[in-house]
């Protein structure tokens, strides 16, 4: 595996939101096919990382570099990052009344196919694919006709995110607290959907506060994010350790360091 070229490389990244630095020297290297879990307490910068990588307005990079497949991700517009294969599954997907889910999905797929120089998919073929994707994530087909996420329950929104992932076939998926607000049944459906998409050329960053999700989506690596940087990395067993210990030790260590110093 170590010989494989990296899919995502983040080097010494510093990023701010409204002048407040949230990401402080983050390094991460992800190879194709790997699943990395990022865990950490609230306020550690978990969601910020997804927003910075996707290029959200108001999230500015102060220094460091990020490459996706060798390309400078930070130089790209948000839509070009998506077209390059980045997908962010939102913790709180946005409701867009008046724009039908189907229209939204087709516009997304069309834009990405066009960027890859592929022919546009016909409406009939797309509808078939979309219906199959609905079935896979256990959403009624009627949801294609509704406004994007409009009036969807929390679980339905998460499944709708997953459906977008199935249709867009990204190289790198960032799941931002996809487990939040889900009951165990919904969690299993989402996890099954994610697992079905695992492949040698698709990688995942699973951002979560709780270990629970990782019972269903087995990570290759687990990283602990605290105060904007990764403070500890390990294999799946690290998640279990965190579950047992909580995050309190993160706050203690720096204090002890100070005392020693």
């Amino acid at each position: 595996m170590s010989n494989t070229k990296s899919l995502l490389t983040i080097k010494d990244l510093y990023a701010s939101v409204e002048e407040k630095q949230i990401i402080k020297g983050l390094d991460l290297d992800i190879k194709p096919g790997e699943v990395h879990a990022i865990m950490g307490p609230n306020g550690a910068g978990k969601s910020t990382l997804g927003y910075v990588l996707s290029g959200r307005d108001g999230y500015s990079v102060d220094s460091g570099s990020v490459t996706l497949d060798g390309e400078d991700l930070l130089e790209m517009e948000t839509e070009d990052r998506a077209r390059a294969g980045l997908f962010l599954a939102f913790q709180y997907p946005v409701e867009i009344p008046g724009v039908s889910n189907l229209e939204f999905l087709k516009a997304s797929v069309d834009a990405q196919r066009q960027a890859r120089g592929e022919d546009a998919i016909t409406s009939a073929d797309f509808l078939k694919e979309a219906k199959a994707a609905c079935k896979q994530v256990n959403l009624p087909v009627a949801f294609l006709k509704r406004g994007v996420n409009e009036g969807f329950s929390g679980g339905e929104k998460k499944r709708n995110e997953l459906m977008q992932m199935l249709l867009l076939k990204p190289k790198l998926c960032i799941l931002d607290e996809t487990d939040s607000g889900l009951d165990i049944d919904a969690l299993q459906i989402v996890a099954e959907g994610v697992n079905s998409q695992r492949s040698a050329d698709r990688s995942f960053i699973v951002v979560t506060h709780y270990q629970r999700l990782l019972d269903y989506i087995k990570p290759d690596f687990v990283h602990v994010l605290s105060d904007g940087k990764i403070v500890k990395s390990g294999d799946a067993s690290l998640a279990l350790e965190l579950e047992a210990q909580g995050y309190a030790w993160l706050q203690k260590e720096p204090v002890e360091d100070e005392l020693e110093g």
């Binding site: 996707s54 839509e79 998506a82 077209r83 946005v94 867009i96 724009v99």
Partner: protein, 419 residues
């Protein structure tokens, strides 16, 4: 008084027909009406220079014009060409219980009744309503007999050729328990000027589905109104779609003349360039237990100007009224202008009345969400603008009309420049 109005009055004085009493009354009122200026509240944001300067002339020679086809819509066609009722285009076989007649062809008793109805629905405060009273060319009277449910919509098209002036007037009466759909449509070529007023009397338990499309753009000046009088348990559902032109002004009056009437008005207008669209919507709750719901949405781009005045007047006796007015506006450019004014006047104490008006820019979060899926920023903007309006199109009861107008609106958004 403007030169234009003076010449209009002079022209009207020469007409002598069955509408003479109505024309005379209008002229009398016009003589005492001040030409609106910026200080006239009802015309504050809509300068009348385009009317003062118009070179449009009444064209009496016959001109061949056809209304645009609407796929999937089989309507009873009622066509005015340059203000003249085109009998040849009128659908030959009308459904039972429906009559469409030129006012001058009615018998004396019918004319007397029509004249009476003319004086009860459209309020006299509309200066161009009075102009239309005085100058109306062909007047058409439509009636639906008691209990008749007409499935085929009636489409009233007012077509204008280059440089034409027209004044059209239609009166629609739905007798008790009847049902009808009416589509009003103006299609105007450049440098034209028209006033187009339609009045609806919706008798007890009758139900009207109404559409008004004001899609004329460019150098057309269009001033008109749709006026409704609702009687006991009457229902109306009205949809207005407007683009702007050099001057487009529409007055809508809904009068709850009976109890338990139910009115819905969904209006949307989308302006670009230097276009102007002015909607004045007035609801008079004169009787108890009425219900009104108004949704008005507007998008302005470039240097266009939108005006909305939404007045709800709940009279002292109109207890248990439920009235709701929601106005949302989207600004696509900092040179565009929105003037919105909800006006509530409530004299009854046991009513529920809510209103809200917002002016906003595009939802940044939704824009970002679409971009994270690979949709370009400009395409995402078009999608969101369309979605804002599409919510109201989805509420149109007539599917053929909704399917027809959707791509037209989409195309308009694609052309609007976002700055």
């Amino acid at each position: 008084m403007s030169e234009w109005l003076e010449s209009a009055i002079a022209r009207a004085q020469g007409i002598n027909d069955w509408l003479a009493p109505k024309r005379a009354h209008a002229l009398e009122l016009l003589a005492n009406t001040k030409w609106p200026t910026r200080k006239t509240e009802a015309w504050r944001y809509t300068p009348l220079r385009p009317v003062e300067r118009t070179q449009a002339k009444v064209i009496t020679d016959k001109v061949e014009l056809l209304p645009v086809a609407i796929a999937g819509l089989s309507a009873i066609e009622l066509v005015f060409v340059n203000g003249q009722f085109d009998q040849t285009q009128l659908t030959k076989t009308l459904p039972e219980g429906v009559s469409i007649s030129l006012g001058s062809d009615l018998d004396t008793a019918q004319q007397t009744e029509a004249l009476h109805t003319f004086s009860t629905i459209k309020p006299e405060r509309h200066i161009f309503g009075l102009v239309n009273d005085a100058l109306a060319q062909d007047v058409v009277v439509v009636t639906v007999a008691e209990g008749v449910e007409v499935t085929q919509p009636i489409r009233i098209s007012s077509l204008l050729s280059q440089g034409a002036e027209s004044h059209t007037r239609v009166q629609v009466t739905l007798a008790a328990g009847s049902r009808l759909t009416v589509i009003e449509d103006v299609q105007a070529q450049g440098d034209s000027f028209n006033t187009a007023f339609v009045e609806y009397k919706v008798a007890a338990n009758a139900s009207l589905e109404h559409y008004r499309f004001a899609l004329q753009t460019g150098s057309n000046v269009s001033i008109g109104g749709s006026h409704f009088s609702l009687h006991d348990h009457a229902k109306m559902h009205s949809t207005l779609v407007g683009f702007g032109s050099e001057l487009s002004r529409l007055d809508t009056d809904i009068i709850h003349a009976g109890e338990f009437a139910d009115a819905k008005l969904n209006a949307m207008y989308l302006l670009d360039g230097k276009e102007l669209f002015d909607l004045h919507a007035t609801v008079e709750h004169a009787m108890p237990n009425g219900k009104t719901e108004e949704n008005v949405r507007c998008i302005v781009a470039d240097r266009s100007r939108a005006i909305f005045n939404g007045r709800i007047h709940i009279h002292r006796d109109a207890q248990k009224t439920l009235a709701e007015l929601n106005n949302r506006n989207l600004l696509l450019s900092d040179k565009a202008e929105i003037n919105t004014k909800p006006e509530l006047e409530i004299y009854a104490d046991d009513v529920k009345c809510a209103h809200g008006a917002t002016v906003a820019q595009i939802d940044k979060q939704a824009l970002y969400y679409l971009q994270t899926r690979g949709v370009s920023r400009s395409k995402a903007q078009v999608m969101l603008n369309f979605g804002f309006i599409n919510e109201l199109i989805d509420l149109m009861p007539n599917a053929a009309l909704a399917e027809w107008i959707r791509p037209i609106i989409r195309e308009r958004f694609a052309q609007m420049e976002v700055k």
